[in-house]
């Protein structure tokens, strides 16, 4: 097994919007070791989210290689990629993206519907995930009955529940106040340090980036530096 969790080799990503052709990433290379916590920073349009989407298997590069956890995900088809995501990646979004019709525990259970676990096993895993994020007592609440911070904790529990090694977080504190944001970032730190999760986090906020082990700067589709 590779020592790196993520290996990006000479990746280019071009979007075509009508007649326009926009090259967002230009021959980008990146290595992220296992159990790392990386903050991706850069101005709007620098390609942070695009890179995150490629690493998370939500999109495919125009050229180049993307290897995550030893799998060449740039070579997978749509269905294979979906199955790969289900078992290997946890996603956390800026606006939580919970299902409003489901309770917190049902939201967390959603990824487990793709596994062969029994209902009892699923319930147990959900309880553990909600315990980790400190929301065991809000399991029966629907998203609209929770605060922003609590919603993000539920989203993190959903990302954790199938025990992926890699968490990709797109501006996870972008919609939260400073205090709540710090709580969420503290939780991500715990997941990284105590549970060994590799975390890649896109953020605009330098204070949020300080919670990471490393900060990477992207500008105009290229990595500028890798700061410790």
């Amino acid at each position: 097994m590779s020592e790196s969790m993520v290996e990006v080799r000479n990746v280019t990503k071009v979007y075509e919007r009508g007649t326009q052709r926009v090259e967002v990433l230009h021959g980008l290379n990146l290595d992220i070791p296992r159990s790392d916590f990386v903050a991706l920073m850069g101005p709007s349009g620098s390609g942070k989210t695009t890179l995150l989407n490629l690493i998370g298997g939500l999109d495919q590069p125009t050229s180049g290689e993307v290897q995550v956890g030893g799998s060449r995900i740039d070579q997978l088809g749509r269905s294979e990629l979906a199955r790969w995501r289900a078992h290997n990646i946890g996603f956390v979004f800026q606006f939580y993206n919970l299902m409003p019709v489901l309770t917190a525990e049902a939201n967390v259970e959603l990824p487990l519907l793709l596994t062969r676990l029994t209902a009892a096993q699923r319930r147990k895993n959900v309880a553990v995930a909600l315990e980790i994020v400190g929301l065991a007592d809000r399991a029966k609440h629907k998203p609209r009955e929770l605060s922003g911070g609590q919603e993000q904790r539920v989203a993190i529990a959903r990302a954790l529940v199938s025990d992926p090694q890699l968490l990709v977080c797109d501006e996870p504190t972008g919609d939260l106040d400073r205090k709540t944001a710090e709580e969420i970032l503290g939780l991500l730190q715990v997941l990284n340090r105590e549970h060994g999760k590799t975390i890649i986090m896109v953020t605009h906020d330098p204070k949020a980036a300080e919670f990471a082990r490393r900060i990477l700067h992207l500008e105009k589709g290229q990595l500028l530096e890798q700061a410790a």
Partner: protein
């Protein structure tokens, strides 16, 4: 939580919208069930099982009267216990209230229709009074008629010999049904055939619209029917012999091609339903493009997402459809009871089967396009709101 639970939860995200859509599905399938039952009644062949009476009319139309000379021939057919006959009189009460009035021979009619109950003295009075008339209790109660009254009735079909359309009859009896079913039908009146024959201007004499054969053995109904029609085949007065129930149905059939009418109504109903449910499903998918993208992000394949949307459409139409068919079944049974079995609107297996086929087709029609849209969603674009 299960996948089915997730589908149901999504279905009720906008509770009022879903309930209203569900109601439209229920109403459509209620109509479907009842109209298909009507259609199958009218498109079914003759059923002689359990028939105790047969109606004989002219083959072309019951408006073409048959000669009274047929009577002894009909009476002589094995299996026939008694024969009555009737002539349509029509009759209008007061300004413009049409009545069901028939002329008949009181003696034979009483024997063929024991379901009508009236004191013997009144039957005798009817037999002996040439201008006599008897009325069903419902009719008499409705217009306040009392025995002994002279009842003025006009006829748009049959003027008297003096040219007057006004007839006057002596009300000599009021009959009622023997049970609740027959009591509900006691809304007609009878006059003497002899008096009608003598008095009508057109000189229609010795002709009747229908003969009613009372059978000695109901198992012989079909054989008697065939014997009668064969007996008068190739004569100037060819006959059509059918059960009392089929005869009553043939009245309704005069409205037009019932099957065609039913098909057009159902087409309109289902087309409207298609628009209503299709729009609801399309709107529902449009509203949660980001949620569908999140499902894909979590690892649900394109096919799974397509399946979720189709399952929602199917659940909506299935639940509404089955409820509608069930209500149609209950309503049909009530109509059947209310008409004493004359209109057997109970949903049979064929209607249920057709209903289930309609449910599947409707689910596909309303769910497929939104489901395909959900399937085609690109995660990155959908999450970015593009």
């Amino acid at each position: 939580m299960t996948k089915a639970g997730f589908v149901v939860a999504n279905l009720f995200r906008k509770r009022i919208r879903t309930i209203l859509t569900l109601l439209s599905v229920v109403m459509a399938f209620l109509l479907f069930g009842l109209l298909q039952s009507v259609n199958s009644i009218f498109s079914s062949g003759a059923n002689f099982v359990g028939a105790t009476r047969l109606f004989v009319q002219a083959r072309v139309s019951f408006t073409q009267a048959l000669p009274i000379s047929m009577l002894p021939k009909l009476e002589a057919i094995p299996g026939v216990a008694a024969v009555a006959h009737q002539m349509w009189f029509g009759g209008v009460w007061q300004e413009n209230t049409p009545l069901i009035m028939l002329s008949l021979d009181p003696r034979t009619y009483h024997e063929v229709y024991p379901e009508w109950v009236m004191p013997d003295a009144q039957w005798q009075a009817f037999i002996q009074t040439r201008t006599g008339m008897i009325a069903g209790k419902l009719l008499a109660d409705q217009y306040g008629w009392k025995i002994g009254q002279k009842i003025p009735i006009s006829s748009n079909i049959w003027p008297q010999k003096n040219g007057s359309k006004a007839w006057t009859f002596d009300l000599v009896g009021i009959f009622d049904g023997k049970d609740e079913d027959w009591k509900r039908r006691a809304n007609l009146a009878f006059i003497q055939q002899d008096y009608f024959d003598e008095s009508n201007q057109f000189g229609i004499k010795g002709r009747v619209n229908f003969y009613i054969l009372k059978l000695s053995d109901s198992s012989k109904a079909e054989a008697v029917s065939r014997t009668v029609d064969a007996m008068f085949e190739n004569s100037p007065d060819e006959t059509k012999t059918q059960t009392e129930k089929d005869f009553n149905m043939s009245f309704v059939k005069q409205i037009g091609d019932i099957g065609l009418i039913v098909r057009w109504i159902l087409f309109a109903v289902f087309f409207t339903l298609l628009l209503v449910v299709g729009n609801t499903m399309a709107q529902s998918v449009r509203e949660r493009v980001p949620e569908l993208a999140v499902l894909k992000t979590l690892g649900f394949t394109d096919r799974s997402v397509l399946g979720f949307v189709l399952a929602e459409a199917f659940a909506l139409v299935l639940f509404g459809g089955l409820l509608g068919l069930l209500l149609a079944s209950i309503a049909g049974a009530m109509v059947e009871r209310g008409t004493g079995g004359q209109f057997q609107l109970r949903l049979d297996g064929g209607v249920w089967l057709l209903g289930v086929v309609a449910i599947v087709l409707m689910s596909l029609a309303v769910g497929l396009l939104p489901a395909l849209r959900a399937r085609r969603l690109k995660i990155v674009d959908a999450l970015a709101g593009r």
